[in-house]
């Protein structure tokens, strides 16, 4: 049989392939930060503990999203936007039949989208698309009209790129994006749906963390110019409600680790490094039981409400009232307020309540 390749040619090709592989391996070795191989945290600070306020070497955040220094009792403004003038409310609550109109009105009441998004910004919007089970009428995923309205507003403000993403715990993201209606709505509005890529997660130091000091977090969410958090308000077995602070769990890979270590504390720790510039709680429909998955229309209440604030704690605190609860009923909210992530005391903030 005539050989397909001469020996010389074969050795040449193998050598080339080997060099190529070695090259990639080398690049990989140089390029990846020296992170522990395991997707686990180190609970204790390393013996050569660096000052807790120092940012991780792999992560140089823009000012607004900076990890919190040692917690202070005063609320820390989470956005880079110009300090709100006294005329602007701390929190906007808008009620009305049109989800798009109330979303727009809520942002307008806070000073308009221009306060959060500048021309040329790279924006990430994080709704709750937790699984691919049910359409939006079941209130287990964020209302697509609310998400689409935010996409449009960001683009109107001149955003360079608006990406929408979540990491569903069941079903493929593509399917969850379609079933939730968010995929179609976002594309129609001019945004992009992103499948959250495993390679984009990185180990991030959590200097102010009490339970977790380091965790795998989606890098793009930290690197984006603007992060907008759009949870749906719904029932949740262990935390009582899932709202804005809990919604950020969609940005971490190891969620079982949160559960195993104490969910509330881990959520608060995560919120010290992931600081959305704006939180818009979708309460157009809320799920009052059998959350977060839902599946029965009997558990859905139509509230036609949107709550928006740059203060994630305040937005969550207000949302509890829609369920007949108080902020104190949801531990991560009061813990977040204590750690200086925002204000849970609704009597101390200026709230704009608007009916459309």
């Amino acid at each position: 049989m005539k050989p397909i390749l001469s020996r010389k040619e074969f050795i040449r090709r193998v050598a080339f392939a080997g060099m190529g592989l070695a090259g990639t391996a080398l690049l990989q070795a140089c390029g990846t930060p020296a992170a522990p191989a395991l997707n686990r945290i180190t609970l204790e600070p390393s013996p050569t503990a660096r000052p807790s306020a120092a940012p991780s070497p792999t992560y140089t955040p823009r000012a607004p999203a900076a990890p919190l220094p040692t917690p202070t009792p005063a609320a820390i403004p989470p956005t880079a936007a110009p300090a709100p003038s006294t005329a602007l409310p701390h929190l906007a609550v808008v009620r009305g039949a049109s989800a798009e109109a109330i979303t727009r009105q809520a942002v307008t009441a806070l000073g308009g989208i221009g306060r959060f998004v500048k021309a040329g910004d790279d924006v990430i919007i994080k709704p709750n698309i937790c699984n691919a089970y049910h359409g939006p009428e079941y209130a287990s995923t964020t209302n697509p009209e609310v998400v689409a309205a935010l996409v449009k507003m960001c683009l109107e403000a001149g955003a360079r790129r608006v990406r929408v993403m979540d990491f569903p715990f069941a079903g493929t993201p593509q399917k969850a994006y379609e079933v939730s209606g968010i995929g179609a709505a976002v594309r129609a509005a001019g945004g992009e749906m992103e499948v959250m890529s495993k390679v984009k997660y990185r180990q991030v130091d959590i200097p102010a963390g009490q339970t977790i000091k380091r965790w795998n977090i989606y890098g793009d969410a930290l690197d984006a110019d603007v992060l907008i958090n759009v949870p749906i308000a719904k029932d949740h077995g262990s935390t009582r409600l899932t709202l804005g602070m809990k919604n950020l769990m969609g940005l971490v890979l190891d969620r079982a680790g949160f559960h195993a270590r104490g969910l509330h504390q881990c959520i608060v720790d995560l919120n010290t490094v992931v600081r959305p510039h704006l939180t818009v709680v979708d309460a157009t429909r809320i799920l009052v039981a059998n959350g977060p998955t839902g599946g029965s229309l009997d558990d859905v209440r139509v509230m036609n409400t949107v709550i928006a604030s740059p203060d994630i704690v305040a937005a969550d605190a207000y949302a509890t009232t829609l369920f007949g609860l108080t902020p104190a009923d949801v531990a991560y909210i009061s813990m977040g307020a204590e750690r200086g992530l925002g204000t849970a005391d609704l009597t101390r903030i200026a709230i704009a309540e608007i009916e459309l």
Binding site: M1, I4, T24, A25, L27, Q28, C30, G31, T32, N131, A132, Y133, F169, A170, G171, T172, P173, Q174, K175, A176, V179, E194, V195, S197, K198, V199, K200, H236, G237, S238, A256, G257, H259, A260, G262, L263, N290, P292, T293, G294, G295, S296, D299
Partner: protein
Amino acid sequence: MTSCAAHDASAPRHTSAGQGRAGILARLRPYVQALFLALFVILITLAWVLGDSRSWANLFFRLDPLAGAMSMLAGRRFLPALLLSLLTIGLTLMVGRVWCAWICPLGTLLDWTPARQQPNAALGPESPWRRVKYILLIAMLASAIAGSLTVLLLDPIVLTSQMIGRVFLPLVEQAFSLLERAGFAIPWTRPLVSSADNLLRGTIFPLERHFYGGAVLIGLVFAGILALNALAPRFWCRHLCPLGALLGLLSRAAWIRRRVNTSCIDCGRCARLCPTGTIDAGRGYASDPAECTTCLLCQDACPVSAISFSGGSLRPAPSQNYDPTRRQALVTLGLGLAGVGLFRAGPSSDFLDPHRILPPGGRENDLASKCIRCGLCLKACPTGGLQPAFPRASAQDLWTPVLVPRMGYCDYSCHACGQICPTGAIPDIPLDIKRTVIIGKAYIDTSRCIPWSEGRDCIVCEEMCPVPDKAIKLEEARVKTVAGQTVTVKLPHVERERCIGCGICEYQCPVAGQAAVRVYSPVLERG
């Protein structure tokens, strides 16, 4: 025995027209083969992307008359979807075993594998070992009559599908992951990696790597079949392939057959080239239509255009020395039937594996007697939870799909396995009904469950439970921790009558190693 076909004086002569056309056809064949192989791989690869039209992915199995006939026989029912294989049968009756040389993906891979060109004399045109494939076919028939399809693992389309789905695509995914990680380390290729990931993850490659039991075994068996080329080209097709045997039997009555006319100059080129080695120099370069795959290599190579493939045969081709005798056939049939009895002599799979969970509807449908082991459901399963039943299964159930929840759950929004199954072994149940089909029952191991054993809240199982009114309920209770304090925790309980056994609780349970909530087979009696 003399061959009638070879020197049939009445055969029409093709002296002028044949050569040129045959030349083009013979040179076209590798491209046709590559095209079919590519189609085969692409259809399997697209099992998720095709969505509700994913039944296209099983096209090759609907064209495979062996899988179709055996599945109908063992399942004792008529399957209209499999009538597509009549196309293959019709084609074979027209032009012989063309499937093997032009379409079969395994045949193509064998053609691409280097082979020993001058095999040992014992493997010549009249090698008695050619009989083995007929014996295998008869054994398969016997086992199908007895209701077992395990032997169908030797169907070349099944084998190749298992190879592509369990071995090839997972390897491609590993290579893709390496490239991704390397590309992500370089800043200027990062956007490219991001786009590739967006396009391919969740569509062609899984988001999280899927692992398959028995993958090593499939890889080794497949490599072994290719390695047999070291004995003779297409050793598998000549001696072992049961589908080749079936198509060979049909080819005996084929209308178009290979003929050699009297202008043959005895150069022997055709006999040396023939990939199935059926051209017999000792018999005037005649061939057995049951062995000839109509690859046209001989016609293309003949320096004097003495070889033609032409119609006109009505009488079946004569039988050969290596055909099984009636006695051999009957003994094989008997042994095959007894063999299936032996399959069932061991403990049942439900006994071997108390966690034996079948895909929705499979248990009610007597899946094992209808499943052709094509493995498409394993590829279609988006969570990678469907695994081949191996090794904890009886011989009767070997390589049928089972759900292993710790590896992947049965997604509440998915019924892909039923949509892709070519034989209806997994019924194609509408999604809203599939959501109510009970495939197992979850039980909590309170000695390992975090709230039960450690007095700390956890509740992942309750959170994940997709049943609208939750089959896992939380109950607040005062328990004593290891440290001796009494605390209030939420303890999970399974509401057994609501549980459908999807296994997402087991999959997501944060307890290390084996989950603290596990799904058991819904059949609790020893069956």
